[in-house]
């Protein structure tokens, strides 16, 4: 575990809302976190929890219907007031992103060498030849076998795992301070996922890149992250060092998430006969909540929970939860659905 030496990315009170004819959707509601140099932070949650919108807000890539507020500081520099042109200069150089679908996020009409070299020519002003040389090195860095041959291949000639490596090579070409990875292994097979996670670990060590990884897979979080931010309905409901949060989850949603995956590594108990269910579905927020957002699905919810959305409070050093009744109350496995 690396201790953060300096803060690379600081997000404070980030809000994202969408206004359309169907009304307003509050996608991200007051999210704050920071990432240190060489640190891996995981944003965890189910679909609709706002984790991808948080990443898009950081990249300045929100759709035009979205409104963003709050503060995003990258190595001390405030990003929220920047113009499109200034943001373009930063994207790919200072902060870059890889996506879930390596199939659709590479331009099919260029060779992978051209795609990687383009980043270098655009941001670092390298010549065509120098950029291609560097592209070969980068493909080697992400462990693409025979990079000198494969640099001239087109994305469709590559497997999903190889394409995701190309995405990573493009993303780290200019040695960015922060790499956002949105479900980078979700579309891949487990043996390929293990390779990609290995490469990301490697990059963090070799280049000191700070990584924000967005995932719903708790195994991936346990494997690669130093700290974790659990999101629900656009709110951070729990945050802390991965070891602490996994060993002593405080928020009922975190407890529910951890209980909902089969745990073959644990000795069977009577409770392991069934998985923990979280009844109901993730709500779509249309107005600021007047109660805890998780209360409608929470086994602990009482009148106090229905008064206001609780703020994050420290439950242990370095660990915070937004819950009126935090703590590891033993859940009844498989509560009614």
């Amino acid at each position: 575990m690396s201790t953060p030496t300096s803060t690379r990315l600081a997000v404070e009170d980030l809000h994202v809302r969408f206004d359309s004819d169907d009304g307003t959707v509050l996608a991200v509601n007051g999210v704050s976190f920071d990432v240190g140099e060489g640190e891996v932070l995981a944003l965890v949650g189910e679909s609709g929890c706002g984790k991808s919108m948080t990443a898009m807000a950081l990249m300045g890539l929100l759709p035009p219907t979205a409104t963003r507020s709050g503060s995003i500081r990258l190595a001390g520099r405030e990003l929220t007031g920047l113009r499109q042109r200034e943001m373009r200069e930063l994207r790919g150089r200072e902060i870059s992103m890889i996506f879930q679908e390596p199939m659709t996020s590479l331009n099919p009409v260029y060779t992978v060498g051209y795609l990687v070299a383009e980043v270098l020519r655009r941001h670092e002003g390298l010549s065509r030849r120098a950029a291609k040389e560097r592209a070969v090195e980068l493909l080697e860095l992400v462990r693409i076998p025979a990079p000198r041959q494969r640099v001239d291949e087109y994305p469709h000639q590559m497997s999903g795992g190889m394409r995701q490596r190309v995405m990573i090579a493009m993303a780290v070409a200019c040695n960015p301070k922060v790499l956002l990875a949105d479900e980078p292994t979700t579309a891949l097979d487990v043996t390929i996922q293990a390779q990609i996670l290995d490469i990301m670990r490697d990059l963090r060590e070799k280049l000191g890149t700070s990584v924000v990884i967005i995932t719903h897979d708790l195994g991936v979080v346990a494997d690669i992250a130093d700290r974790v931010v659990v999101m629900y309905a656009g709110h951070v409901v729990e945050t802390g060092v991965v070891d602490d949060v996994f060993a002593r989850p405080q928020h009922p949603y975190t407890i529910g998430l951890l209980g909902s995956v089969p745990r073959p590594d644990l000795a069977p108990t009577s409770a392991s006969d069934r998985l923990t269910e979280i009844p109901g579905i993730v709500p779509t927020l249309r107005q600021p909540p007047h109660e805890c957002v998780f209360a409608p699905r929470c086994p602990r919810a009482d009148d106090e929970c229905r008064r206001d959305m609780p703020a994050l409070v420290e439950t242990a050093p370095g660990q915070r939860a937004a819950c009126v009744h935090p703590g590891p109350v033993p859940e009844r496995a498989g509560a009614a659905s």
């Binding site: 189910e46 679909s47 076998p145 497997s159 795992g161 190889m162 097979d189 487990v190 043996t191 390929i192 996922q193 293990a194 390779q195 996670l197 290995d198 719903h216 897979d217 708790l218 195994g219 991936v220 979080v221 346990a222 494997d223 992250a225 991965v242 070891d243 996994f246 060993a247 529910g256 998430l257 951890l258 209980g259 909902s260 995956v261 089969p262 745990r263 073959p264 590594d265 006969d273 069934r274 998985l275 923990t276 269910e277 979280i278 009844p279 579905i281 993730v282 498989g334 659905s337």
Partner: protein, 355 residues
Amino acid sequence: MTESPAARSSGEPILEIRDLVKHFDVPRSRGGGVVHAVDGVDLTIRAGEVVGLVGESGSGKSTIGKCVVRLLEPTRGSITLHGRDVTHLPQGKLRPLRRQVHMVFQDPYSSLNPRMQVEQIVAEPLRMHRIASGLAARTRVREMLERVGLSAEVARRYPHELSGGQRQRVGLARSLVLEPSLLVADEPVSALDVSVQASIINLVLDLQRDMGFSCLFIAHDLATVQFLCNRVAVMYLGRIVEEGTRDQLFDAPRHPYTQSLLSAVPLPDPVKQRDRHRVVLAGDVPSPVHPPSGCRFHTRCPAAELPLCREQDPVLVDHRSDGHRSACLLVREDGSAPDITDITREGRARVHHQA
């Protein structure tokens, strides 16, 4: 999991797959050739058994499922259901098969007719097989919906009004309303959110215990398979490479591929995960158009001994006559197998562990 897997496997065979082969021709415009999707698979499912079929994409596991329900025509081999050969039944004579075997699909969004109400969707098998109509059908549909945890008010809704989890419940209700003897579930939870996955897995578990159907559970998620299945078969490039009871396979995996799969799945426990020695396989799954010679896994196998593994094609062997079969040339006669964790940790030293 109240009965031991051994007790269950004493039931009569419901489904017997023998030497199943399914090849697909690649159009000449795409380079031609033959995809060896399934290349000689034997699998038996007995009454009340839940058999997991695991493997990565392209391993052929879904193709087997589709051959069993005859959505695909097998190239060779035989599929026997309740002792009756159904491999090449003509379309017109498939109806009895369709009554005994039902399938649940991965994508609950595209596998329900968007123009039908939930009630109609679940009633359709009853109508098609002329088992019930009118009030009788409606009553059975309501009972089935209740069984899968859907309230009566859902009956009049259309699929687009439902959540992913609810849709998968409808899919299960439709598949089970005829009380089939075999359910083929092809990745039924992988398109769902984790917490919803949990409720569907619990539901499959409950329904199987109540109704007693056999199940071929196709999945890539090993933890789910370990949770749900009595027996497990692991596939690689169109072949079963290892098969055994849940405990045999997960506690003492023999085939290096099974071992690497288990090693690749990250445990949701950061402390354990950090202390584990992870085996990361090199390279991708080779193309099923040109599967490697000999053992198909030899190109990625950390334990491979060349030229042996490149030249000889291993068959599934039940080394200890206990139903635990593996297709690896390096597994010894007493069932002891190379431990790829040790091999990758200690270089190329040959280390055998006692199985």
